[in-house]
């Protein structure tokens, strides 16, 4: 039993208020459709709702609505976050329906999807919200029945006083409970008593998804709404010079064509304000197809943009000047510069022992360099946003992972106070980090303001793939010093990228080695980048785990055994004090994957690779099996072992893990966005190869370590290690180590660039 304070942070968002007739929170109920869902019909809509707190309202008939605070982009928080509420509230999941909360941080606290943090950071607040509402229902029963509160127990949806035999549904006491003071402290359930958490519940939206109900921003429609598209510069490093709109404007169904600035000059950027194109052309008309046709008739001239600097805040605030260099960059040039930087000394990020001396006395040095290209996120739903901006208010509906940050940007751009800007959170057709950057909300708002009408802005796939905010390109060089007995003396990593280094210097294998050196470097660029599922980790894991595989072989060790030896050292006698992982939990997933994959029992024709990584507070090890059909690898099976603490919704968690594995295999095999003279060389799926069903593993098994540690990240951690599981298995299959992503290209080229 744990007692917690209900005032969780500076916002005491558990304040209750009676809420009649559903009002307030249902301001955006078009999503529910005019027709109640079959479940809602079966449960019966109540005549009146009583709000116990922002997350929970209960109808007089016992119906329970739970609000999912965080933006949903496929990670299934809309199911798992309410499950946590339902657990502590003690209701039957069958009797619950779930709604998406609007962006309303005063009520919901943190409303951010990113960094695999929703469940980790929502865990305590949601449990507390559920337990608080339950405590208020108990207090209402105690008052009504005139019995002490501590004699009242609950069973799902009911309050019970054993001694007197009294029993009442939550609905009967909800009206009184909603008026009672919020208790200062509440008791949380014992984890061993969980009935909902840890059992698989279906996605609360699955019915709407499979019947094609309007769910996404692109599906949104409103009386008088116009459709807008944009034209951005064709290349990074270019900007609008002039344009002739006459022909486009004369096309059927077209209302307006104009250029607009995304930000005002001298604007100080927020952290997620990454913007590639500061000035764009908007084409606004009646229907999508008409606007698409008119867009083709636009005659725009673009010119080389000069160097520019902007003020931008860091993740935690603190603005600094950021330079956006001039120039039309190409992948060729990037490679040359990265090679040059790899050879120069970098910034020392961590140094243990005396690595230089160890390398001097080494009898053998293994040195390998790994490269990976830019990647486009390619969310299935292209960038889109609905906006309706009038003189005194703005209403937006869009796919956004970080609404709080963009509300500041909107306020600055529109000159409206934040409380006049309503951001409603759409289900996103994918996000993967890219939808943390809310430029599209600003663009849609500016367009709406200019045309004086509600608009829905939609990017074409080509606009989406070429506008920027990519996964950066990276290079890492690993060196290991071995003595004459093949003992590992020192490890050195130097890694960088455009425009950031991928190194997390205090992660494994730091802490396991007496002599360790990590150096980073970065090259500036005007090609915009942003978070992409496990930023930085998604590259450095691939390099590190490929290198450890090769090093283990060099040392004559089994690759799992080798990692376990290092982890044993990190546990028993760690080097340095800032190591940010728990070696025991890390070893735990390696041991579990060894067992579940029957490691060591090789099947004929099957080639295996292993890899592991720690990020987003979670531990993952993966074994990938493939066979070759001619030159084509066929992935037969992937076994993953995951330690992310308590798993709220196991089957959905496995789905997310499977997705991360498929995503990683796809990017490892095919993912690549090259540039020439600032122009992205791929702009749609005919040239940008995505993984498709035949290339996906035939089977994936995700195993979770069972413990009762509070939950940690899940959406990202299965992604980084799979890249090296692919390359390590391909090495077993072909006898060739692969150092350059995408691997299929390297495999087909027959040339290894090291």
């Amino acid at each position: 039993m744990t007692i917690v304070k209900t005032k969780l942070n500076r916002r005491s968002f558990l304040k209750a208020s009676a809420l009649a007739g559903g009002g307030l929170m249902l301001s955006f109920s078009w999503l529910a459709g005019c027709k109640p869902s079959p479940k809602e019909v079966a449960l019966g809509l109540p005549d009146e709702w009583f709000e116990l707190n922002a997350f929970i309202k209960i109808g007089e008939n016992g119906a329970v609505t739970l609000y999912n605070p965080n933006p949903e982009f496929g990670q299934n928080v809309k199911t798992s976050m309410p499950m946590i509420l339902a657990e502590e509230l003690d209701v039957d999941w069958k009797n619950v329906w779930v709604e998406q909360a609007d962006f309303y941080p005063e009520r919901y606290g943190r409303q951010f999807t990113g960094g695999s943090q929703s469940i980790r950071q929502g865990w305590q607040p949601l449990r507390t919200a559920g337990a608080t509402a339950r405590a208020m229902l108990v207090a209402a029963a105690a008052q009504t029945w005139k019995v002490p509160g501590n004699e009242i127990t609950t069973e799902p949806g009911f309050l019970i006083h054993q001694a007197s035999g009294k029993k009442a549904g939550y609905g009967e006491l909800a009206s009184l409970a909603a008026t009672l003071p919020v208790p200062e402290e509440v008791e949380l359930k014992d984890k061993k008593d969980f009935k909902i958490i840890g059992t698989s519940k279906k996605n609360v939206e699955v019915n709407k998804i499979i019947t094609g109900k309007p769910l996404f921003t692109i599906d949104y429609n409103k009386e008088g709404m116009l459709v807008a598209m944009i034209e951005h510069a064709p290349a990074f490093g270019m900007r609008l010079k002039s344009f002739d709109a006459a022909e486009a404007k004369a096309m059927p169904g077209i209302k307006e064509v104009f250029s607009f600035k995304v930000h005002l000059d001298e604007y100080e950027h927020n952290f997620f304000d990454t913007t590639t194109h500061y000035e764009m052309i908007a084409i606004v008309g009646n229907t999508t197809w008409e606007v698409m046709q008119a867009k083709k008739k636009l005659k725009a001239e673009w010119e080389i943009a000069p160097e520019k600097s902007i003020m931008q805040s860091g993740f935690g605030g603190n603005a600094s000047k950021v330079k956006i260099p001039a120039g039309l960059e190409s992948t060729e040039g990037h490679r040359a510069r990265m090679e040059e930087f790899s050879k120069k000394p970098g910034n020392i990020l961590r140094r243990d022992g005396d690595p230089e001396a160890a390398f001097k006395k080494a009898s053998k040095i293994l040195e390998r360099t790994y490269n990976a290209p830019y990647l486009a996120h390619n969310c299935m739903e292209p960038v889109t946003c609905y906006a309706h901006v009038t003189a005194d208010r703005a209403e937006l509906y869009g796919p956004i992972q970080a609404p709080e940050v963009i509300s500041n940007t909107l306020s600055a751009r529109l000159g409206l106070p934040k409380d006049k800007i309503q951001i409603n959170l759409a289900r996103m057709g994918g996000g993967f980090g890219q939808r943390a950057y809310g430029h599209h909300l600003v663009e849609a708002a500016v367009i709406s303001k200019q045309v004086g009408a509600p608009i829905k802005m939609v990017y074409t796939r080509e606009d989406d793939m070429t506008y920027g905010i990519y996964r950066p390109t990276y290079t890492a060089t690993y060196r290991a010093a071995l003595d004459e007995n093949n003992n590992l003396l020192a490890l050195h990593v130097k890694a960088g990228g455009i425009p950031e280094t991928p190194i997390a210097p205090n992660r494994f294998p730091a802490g396991a080695l007496d002599n360790y050196l990590a150096e980073g470097w970065e090259i500036e660029s005007n090609i915009t980048i942003g978070a992409f599922r496990a930023p930085r980790s998604n590259f450095i894991a691939s390099a590190e785990q490929s290198f450890l595989d090769e090093l283990a072989e060099e040392m004559g060790k089994d690759p799992i055994e080798f990692r376990l030896d290092l982890l044993k050292r990190a546990k028993e006698n760690p080097v340095g004090s800032r190591n940010d992982y728990d070696p025991e939990r890390y070893a735990g997933v390696l041991e579990l994957v060894r067992e579940k994959s029957n490691w060591g029992q090789n099947q004929p024709g099957i080639h295996r690779g292993v890899s592991a990584y720690f990020c987003h507070n979670s531990y993952v090890a993966e074994v990938l099996d493939l066979r070759m059909e001619g030159n084509k690898p066929i992935v037969e099976n992937v076994v993953a072992a995951v330690d992310c603490g308590i798993v709220v919704n196991p089957d959905a968690a496995a789905n997310m893990g499977e997705g991360a594995i498929v995503d990683g295999i796809g990017n490892a095999f095919f993912g690549e966005l090259p540039f020439k003279d600032g122009v992205p060389q791929k702009n749609n799926f005919n040239t940008y190869r995505m993984i498709r069903m035949p290339e996906a593993p035939k089977n994936i098994d995700v195993h979770f370590v069972k413990n009762d540690i509070d939950p940690t990240g899940l959406g990202e951690p299965l992604f980084p290690p799979i890249f090296a599981a692919v390359s390590n298995a391909l090495y077993q299959a072909t006898g060739r180590r692969l150092y350059n992503q995408p691997f299929m290209k390297e495999l087909e080229s027959g040339i290894t660039r090291m």
């Binding site: 079959p38 496929g74 959905a652 799926f685």
Partner: protein, 151 residues
Amino acid sequence: MATFNLNINGKSQSVDVDPNTPILWVLRDQLDLVGTKYGCGIAQCGSCTVIMDGNAVRSCSIPVSAAEGTKITTIEGLSENGDHPVQKAWMEHDVPQCGYCQAGQIMSAVALLESNPNPSDTDIDNAMNGNICRCGTYVRIKKAIKTAAKS
């Protein structure tokens, strides 16, 4: 502009649009059937898949002028309440993540099973190769198709 008489989900509808307008945009913008999604516009992703005279087709790349005289089924026309065997299998395996591609996946699967009630793994791979799922739900899609085939 011209008038076209269409048969969508068993209902006759007439629309007045440019003859080159792809079926996708007629469905979404004229008929308010937004279950069919836009993903690429060039017949590469399958988000816009509908069934036309029994075949899975990419509605983004077929002009409305070619639709007259055909029977088109969209995701909305598959069943009243989501109880088509393929939809039920999708629910059983809890397939979707973001969900954006899933209408297209389901329509491809339905067309496959209508012509081949007992598809092999290779048949499934071939039939579904035109549908990208960015979230990577392929393993579940395949399982769901097998479940639906059994029912």
